[in-house]
């Protein structure tokens, strides 16, 4: 039985210039066909699905209207056994939140919300090309609480072009003051197929590794002091509020992904659905598989993944999985910490997690 279900909703109110997730600006004509394709795809796997966690991501799932969300989630409930669900997350853009929609989602069983605030600074929101203001984000957060969501994550980004250490500190303090249950703080990545990347290659944006490192340090420091546990490189939670769905990815569990561009991993197989909504709809309707990438995962590959990803979490990895000499070097160099048979990244190790992972795989 597969315990983790992901659904990808590839629509956004407006496409952000830094983002490389598969999405398109919402298109009313396609939406119904898309929802039907999602339901049909879920039927293909219904027999082996008994989700404990569900994650609606994107894109922006709440770019769908309340009736569309009801149609989709209601439809899934009819096809899949929802009886074991413990965590059901939906991603939101602050511009797509209303009390009515929030209440409807709660009624549909959604019990966790992840909202993309990114920054509380009006200038930086502008730089990011976000459709919402800081005030709107604050209001949306209040609405979620009013609607009764007691498990809310806020996404923040640092390393935004022009962002100073002081601005970032301020954003963190404001976020902490709202008392969310979970905070994801992502360092901006210049993804290849984005406008930001083009600007970087043109020299308009210059990533500053030293500044980013400083911003990351402040993040760990402030959120730690505010009682958030850094349970993964970019994720901080109050006790008991870790995102179980994401942890499942990082700790190497199987998961099924529905929708365009979604990945699935089942035992020794991984596939990815085509990253094109119309093509996804067409394939599902005609009974073809939606996958356009597949790979077999042998034991070695899974082991490599397990080390690389678990190392990013506060679960660490069994030291026995690491090459002895390398591990010793990393411990001596202050990048790894060893405790009763498991190895964990130190604070400096977290800043260099990729280099450490590469060193030990």
């Amino acid at each position: 039985m597969i315990s983790h279900l992901y659904a990808h909703i590839p629509f956004c109110p407006k496409v952000c210039p830094y983002c490389s997730f598969y999405k398109e600006a919402s298109d009313r004509n396609k939406t119904q066909a898309f929802l039907d394709a999602m339901l049909k795809e879920s039927e293909l796997h219904a027999g082996r699905l008994r989700p404990v966690t569900i994650f609606f991501g994107g894109g922006t799932p709440t770019a769908l209207s309340t009736p569309q969300l009801q149609y989709l989630i209601g439809g899934l409930r009819q096809r899949i056994d929802f009886s074991a669900v413990e965590e059901f997350t939906i991603e939101m853009n602050p511009a797509t939140v209303s009390l009515e929609k929030a209440a409807a989602l709660r009624a549909l069983g959604v019990n966790r919300v992840s909202m993309g605030v990114q920054s509380w600074d009006p200038g930086l929101l502008e730089t990011l090309g976000r459709v919402h203001s800081a005030a709107q984000a604050r209001r949306s957060y209040e609405i979620l609480r009013e609607a009764g969501f007691d498990n809310v994550n806020l996404d923040l980004m640092f390393g935004i072009p022009g962002q100073t250490l002081a601005q970032w500190r301020e954003s963190l303090i404001q976020t902490i003051a709202l008392q969310p249950d979970h905070i994801s703080a992502y360092c901006l990545t210049y993804e290849e197929d984005t406008e930001y990347f083009v600007r970087m290659t043109r020299g308009e944006y210059r990533p500053d590794e030293t500044l980013d490192a400083g911003l990351f340090e402040v993040t760990m420091e402030l959120l730690g002091a505010a009682g958030f546990e850094q349970y993964e490189i970019s994720n901080y939670a109050r006790s008991g509020r870790e995102c179980r769905h994401n942890l499942a990815y990082w700790l190497g569990s199987d998961y099924l992904g529905l929708g365009p561009s979604a990945f699935s991993t089942l035992q020794n197989e991984r596939w990815k659905n085509v990253s094109d909504t119309s093509e996804f709809i067409r394939r599902i309707a005609s009974g073809e598989g939606a996958a356009d990438f597949r790979e077999a995962l042998d034991a070695d590959t899974r082991k490599v993944e397990q080390i690389a990803f678990a190392l990013r979490t506060n679960r660490g990895v069994p030291t026995s999985l690491l090459p002895t000499d390398k591990a010793a070097q990393l411990v001596a160099g202050g990048l790894l910490r060893e405790e009763s048979g498991r190895s964990y990244l130190t604070q400096r190790g977290k800043m260099l997690a990729d280099a450490v992972a590469e060193d030990v795989i």
Partner: protein
């Protein structure tokens, strides 16, 4: 073709005077290649030759020429390299010939390598045909070139042919002169076989291809033959002549006295064939072998190591194949604390070394690094023993060293008068002495100087060229040893001595060089997980230090389910990249570091 109608000649000159371009014209004129299919400098077939615009290997080619006398002649031409490092190629080609075209660039006049090559050719008793080339150039100075021919080389100016390889002027006159002036080979087809191995190459399917000049007798497929030096016997599978384009080997029924061609005899291993060996018939062997060649002694040494220890055997095989085609290249196994197992290699000069490294990388796809080049030092120990050391690592403890002697070269430098004073300064900087100054004509002088070989290895020629605006040229020969205040300079990475970077240098230059090296290494060693300390040390005393600060941040922020494949591939790719670096202790040093260090002076 009868022996009376065979002519064997090579083309010799200073570098860039137009040998290869003239070869193109000769090949075209004789119809050996079609003009339209010709690409420029056709004989420079190696990528490296084409890229650098220089000839590295001598290229023999067979042509047919119908002369003015109505007879058809077999002309065997051999284009040769002009650079000093490859003069061994020239002398082996000369040994297969009776004459040579001596090319002189009309704008440059006689240069150092012109003189050196003329001496080589005269020593072997070859008939020289002087050709003043590039007369099409606006700055061609034919009169001066002719005068230099007489004054410097003692060759009568009337013998010179005026030509332009580029414009195709004088080509027929050159061919007629080859026929008329160069004597035909003197051997006898009826005598017992004696054929000189002057080069060889390796064919994956057919084994060793021997390049030979048949001096006496005949050779054909099916003949039982043996190499007289190794005394190994073979059966000839095929003989033939050389063509400029594919197929490069053209089968013939037989080769006879006077011919230049190839022999394939199922020889599987490259080590069995020694250049200079004599091939004879094993049933009717010749009484004595041909004189062969004086072994060339490498002057420059460097350790070549595979980046991945597993490539050791592959590297050895690659070097064996290169050596077959390049008799001047020497190698033998050695090991290094920092670099593992590799080879100590000997070269004729730095260009030769660069070319070998490049060929190993390109033709054999080897990831390799080379240690800083060294010359052979003589170490006189306090107990009176004399030690030869071609690797700074073998230098004994200084407490038992009485003196270190370095090789000196006699260097002949030809320059226009106006550059005498900056040239003198360069020679001083390089610890040299001018022994003799001689006016060649009203415009030029020849400085006979003595310099430590070590000092002219890396950048002397470049500096000389640039301060004489390209008009200076030089040639050198070994001239014994001299004691000097030499010290060993070591480079330490995180406290570990990296023997690849060690060198023996003059005491007064050691510190500056140490600093320059440390700065260079700081530039080329990438930031990594840990801080890297770089130090230069002379006899245990640190004289310079630099550090590469550790990576600050290297972590992708977001990893959702789908990213896992992408992320893993990224890590694996980076890991692959590291494999192309040499790990010394905890530090990964890229190949470029070893190359850059070579260039630092």
């Amino acid at each position: 073709m009868s022996i009376a109608r065979t002519r064997n000649f090579c083309i010799i000159a200073h570098i860039d005077h137009g040998k290869t371009t003239l070869s193109d014209r000769l090949l075209e004129f004789t119809g050996t290649i079609q003009k339209r299919e010709a690409q420029e400098q056709l004989l420079d077939a190696m990528d490296l030759e084409r890229e650098r615009g220089i000839t590295i290997k001598a290229h023999p080619i067979a042509m047919k020429y119908k002369a003015a006398d109505g007879e058809t002649y077999r002309l065997n031409l051999s284009d040769t390299p002009g650079h000093v490092d490859f003069s061994y190629e020239v002398s082996r080609s000369l040994a297969a010939c009776e004459g040579a075209l001596l090319i002189i660039d009309a704008a440059q006049g006689v240069e150092a390598q012109t003189v050196a090559n003329v001496h080589l050719a005269e020593k072997q008793g070859l008939k020289l045909i002087p050709v003043i080339n590039k007369i099409d150039l606006p700055n061609a100075d034919i009169d001066t070139a002719l005068k230099q021919l007489e004054d410097i080389l003692a060759i009568p100016a009337e013998e010179a042919i005026l030509a332009s390889a580029k414009a195709g002027i004088g080509i027929e006159e050159i061919l007629e002169a080859v026929v008329a002036r160069i004597p035909f080979p003197s051997g006898k087809a009826e005598s017992r076989l004696r054929a000189l191995t002057f080069d060889s190459s390796f064919d994956t399917y057919r084994g060793v291809v021997i390049y030979t000049r048949v001096v006496d007798g005949t050779i054909k497929a099916g003949d039982p033959v043996k190499l007289m030096f190794t005394n190994r016997a073979y059966e000839v599978k095929e003989v033939g002549i050389f063509r400029p384009q594919l197929p490069k080997f053209l089968v013939q029924d037989q080769l006879q006295a006077g011919d230049i061609g190839y022999v394939i005899a199922n020889i599987k291993s490259s080590v069995e064939v020694k250049v200079g060996d004599t091939l004879t018939n094993s049933r009717l062997p010749a009484e004595s072998p041909l004189p062969g060649f004086q072994e060339v002694q490498p002057m420059v040494f460097s350790g070549i190591y595979p980046i991945n220890t597993a490539d050791f055997e592959g590297l050895k095989a690659a070097m064996g194949k290169l050596q077959l085609n390049d008799a001047a290249f020497h190698f033998m196994p050695e090991s290094s604390v920092a670099l593992g197992f590799g080879f100590r290699c000997g070269f004729l000069g730095l260009l030769h070394m660069e070319i070998i490294l490049e060929r190993l990388r390109r033709e054999f796809d080897m990831d390799i690094i080379a240690t800083y080049p060294s010359v052979i030092y003589e170490i006189l120990k306090t107990n009176g023993a004399l030690l030869k050391v071609d690797n700074p690592e073998q230098l004994p403890d200084m407490s038992v060293v009485e003196e270190i002697r370095e090789p000196i070269v006699k260097c002949f430098i030809m320059i226009p008068n106006e550059y005498i004073s900056p040239m003198m300064q360069l020679i001083m900087e390089k610890r040299g002495e001018v022994k003799h100054t001689e006016s060649l004509d009203t415009k030029r002088v020849m400085l006979t100087t003595e310099l430590p070989l070590n000092e002219i290895l890396v950048d002397f020629v470049d500096k000389m060229k640039s301060l004489t605006r390209g008009y200076g040229s030089m040639d050198y020969e070994q001239a014994g040893y001299r004691a000097g205040p030499l010290v060993k300079l070591d480079m330490l990475v995180n406290g570990e001595r990296v023997d690849a970077f060690s060198s023996i240098v003059h005491r007064d230059k050691a510190e500056a060089r140490g600093r320059a090296l440390a700065t260079k290494l700081k530039e080329v060693i990438p930031t990594q997980l840990y801080q890297v300390a770089i130090q230069a040390a002379i006899g245990g005393k640190i004289v310079a230090r630099e550090s590469v600060s550790a990576l600050r941040k290297n972590v992708i922020a977001k990893c959702y389910g789908g990213d896992i494949t992408r992320k893993r591939k990224l890590l694996e790719k980076q890991k692959e990249g590291k494999k192309r670096m040499k790990a010394i202790g905890q530090v990964n040093i890229p190949q470029e570091a070893f190359i850059e260090v070579l260039k630092t002076n």
